[in-house]
């Protein structure tokens, strides 16, 4: 067991998989010699060499196209898109090509690739380098979607994504890169699509993802110590496959549901979770399922404005109290 930053966990996971499988290759902008703009891939070039860890031009379409063609022919590429906002310039590859080719070819083509990308706010970069865009990907059939909240999950979920034979969009929260947490020793791999109950509780269910998970945990602590409300916190971890069972079991116990997401309001993943619970767990509910989101606005840059925009610990507490008190 070691304390590892979320950023170092990325390189740990890639190294773990590259050591066991020579078909794993890695490409992206500034990922090799520079070790990544977030320093999440330091050391990989030294260990695995320039044939497997390869810098590219600033050409996101070329990056994802190369990953796709390599995956179709037997490699297991990991492609980095430096900021998730840049997915917009290569969305054809994501939405039309990578996601659909297995289906359109009646299963002739395998697509074992991972698209890693730095997602979300917290670094005061403004509306084109800070968006949380995992909901963009959730709408496309054929993509699996991962968004880890801690270092151990970065390693085990990224390893699982690399070994999977389907394309995985791997959203790393850039605000979490410097955060340290414990990573068990030995090879780590986790089950794809499995949510994690981080805190057991009886009074309400709070479902969060990625950077919102630590905030949900802090809110749960406050709810307990200040207000005597015993909240269960679920780290959703994957949007596709979506762990409906874990959420439904929790709501059956607590009778309440809150989702905490960094996405702007409309069509965020919380809307899907709430609609499923409304349809399938209606009789378990003792109050309205409630979404806690970023308002439906582009994210502003200034620290004061960004902090006031993203869901805060206090907002989570307040929203829960509105329903439960």
């Amino acid at each position: 067991m070691a304390e590892v930053t979320y950023r170092d966990a990325v390189a740990m996971a890639i190294a773990q998989e590259m050591r066991r499988d020579p078909n794993v290759v890695f490409l992206g902008e500034d990922i090799a010699a520079a070790g990544g703009v977030f320093k999440a891939t330091v050391g990989l070039l030294d260990e695995f060499g320039p044939l497997r860890v390869r810098d590219t031009p600033i050409s996101e379409q070329a990056i994802l196209g190369a990953a796709m063609g390599a995956a179709m022919t037997g490699l297991r590429p990991i492609a980095e898109i430096m900021f998730s906002d840049f997915l917009a310039v290569c969305w054809d590859l994501v939405a039309n090509e990578i996601a659909k080719t297995r289906y359109m070819t009646n299963g002739q083509v395998n697509m074992p690739l991972v698209i890693r990308t730095a997602n979300g706010g917290g670094l005061r970069f403004g509306a084109q380098h800070s968006q949380a865009v995992e909901n963009w990907a959730m709408m496309i059939p054929g993509l699996k979607i991962a968004a880890p909240s801690n270092s151990a999950d970065v390693v085990s979920m990224l390893a699982a994504s690399i070994r999977d034979n389907d394309p995985v969009m791997f959203f790393e929260s850039k605000s979490l890169y410097p955060v340290k947490s414990e990573v068990p020793d030995g090879e780590l791999i986790s089950e794809i699509g499995k949510a994690s109950v981080l805190r057991e509780g009886t009074d309400t269910t709070i479902v969060a993802l990625a950077s919102m998970v630590p905030r949900a945990q802090q809110a749960a602590d406050l709810l307990q110590t200040v207000h005597g409300i015993n909240a269960e916190v679920i780290d959703l971890r994957w949007l596709v496959p979506l762990d409906v069972t874990t959420v439904a079991n929790s709501v059956a116990k607590t009778g309440h549901l809150f989702t905490v997401e960094e996405n702007p309001r409309l069509c965020g993943w919380g809307a899907e979770v709430v609609s499923i619970v409304a349809e399938e767990c209606f009789m378990d509910l003792d109050g309205p399922p409630t979404r806690i989101t970023t308002p439906h606005i582009p994210l502003p840059a200034a620290d004061a404005l960004e902090d006031a925009t993203l869901p805060s610990v206090q907002r989570i507490v307040d929203e829960v109290l509105k329903v439960l008190k």
Partner: protein, 328 residues
């Protein structure tokens, strides 16, 4: 230019004739409302795909556009399933899930026909990267139209291929029209691919795409170069489609004298004439023509006899496990 061997020239002729007769049949079946959706025919452009079909070796990889029937046949994919896919039948190449614009046959190295302009140039790079990384000596060929040279993915793909020195051959089939608009009206250079090659550190190659021998020559050179580690090439082949852009297009925007001139340069009768003047017997070519007729007729019987795909197919193969589930 090196003239190909007699054997190779007969192969070229055979492949072109098979493509021509296939495309004509596809058009007939469309008129009978048996081919649904859209289709983009290669009538008039056969020499280009045929040349690469003859040059390619087993294991080589092909990427084409939505105008990809001929390129699919060039890989050796059987006619029956290709035609059945156009008809949306369960015995189609992809059981009806892809259609005319997405013909794919992995076992023949046909890694797909792509319907979004430019995307597959970047994907072809990935297949070539695999060959380079694993030292398989495979060559990847990627066909596209003149219109593709104006989309961003073209620039990204060529830059990338050159910087990574990938074993890939890019082939621009310049049929003079992007869709309905003359390519010259929307392109700042005369030769949309050849004039831009130098920007990617590649040689400018402009060839008569209606001349099977000339096509074979440049195709062969580019494949050898790629196979020997010499890196990517881009070839611009001048050609002309006999029909419209797609089945919906009567192509009224093209001046009649231009159409007549190009019909006079039809790659198949021109080549036939040349072979005969070089000593090939009419009867030899007639046999090839007849064999193609028989093959197309058998493919038609096969396709028309195919059953309608059953709805359970809808839920197959979203994922590697064969299913479609998005929840646990």
């Amino acid at each position: 230019m090196a003239t190909p061997s007699k054997e190779t020239r007969l192969d070229l002729y055979r492949m072109m004739v098979r493509m021509r007769k296939f495309e004509k049949k596809a058009y007939d079946l469309f008129l009978q409302n048996l081919v649904k959706g859209t289709s983009h025919l290669s009538l008039g452009q056969e020499a280009i795909a045929a040349a690469f079909g003859v040059v390619r070796k087993k294991g080589d990889l092909t990427f084409a556009t939505y105008r990809g029937h001929a390129h699919t046949l060039a890989t050796g994919a059987p006619m029956g399933p290709v035609l059945a896919e156009l008809l949306g039948r369960s015995n189609g190449l992809m059981a009806g899930k892809g259609g005319s614009m997405h013909l794919t046959s992995v076992e023949h190295g046909m890694l797909g026909s792509y319907a979004i302009i430019g995307a597959h140039l970047t994907i072809a790079n990935g297949a070539a990267w695999q060959a380079q990384y694993k030292e398989t000596k495979q060559v990847t060929v990627c066909f596209f139209g003149d219109g593709t040279t104006n989309i961003g993915a073209f620039h990204e793909a060529l830059t990338f291929a050159s910087v990574w020195n990938l074993p890939v051959v890019f082939v621009c089939e310049n049929n003079l029209y992007m869709e309905y608009t003359p390519i010259s009206a929307v392109t700042p250079v005369k030769n949309p691919a050849a004039d831009r090659a130098s920007a990617y550190g590649m040689k400018s190659i402009l060839v008569d795409g209606n001349d099977a021998d000339a096509m074979h020559d440049v195709a062969n050179a580019a494949f050898e170069r790629a196979r020997d580690g010499g890196g990517p090439s881009i070839i611009e082949a001048l050609t002309y489609r006999h029909g419209g852009h797609s089945r919906a297009d009567p192509a009224k925007y093209r001046p009649q004298d231009e159409v007549d001139e190009w019909l006079g340069r039809d790659p198949i009768p021109t080549y036939r004439k040349r072979l005969i003047s070089d000593g090939v017997k009419d009867a030899v070519l007639d046999v090839i023509d007849n064999e193609a007729d028989v093959e197309v007729e058998a493919a038609t019987q096969f396709a028309v006899a195919g059953s309608t795909p059953t709805p359970d197919l809808i839920y197959k193969d979203v994922w590697a496990d064969g299913g479609w589930s998005w929840r646990k």
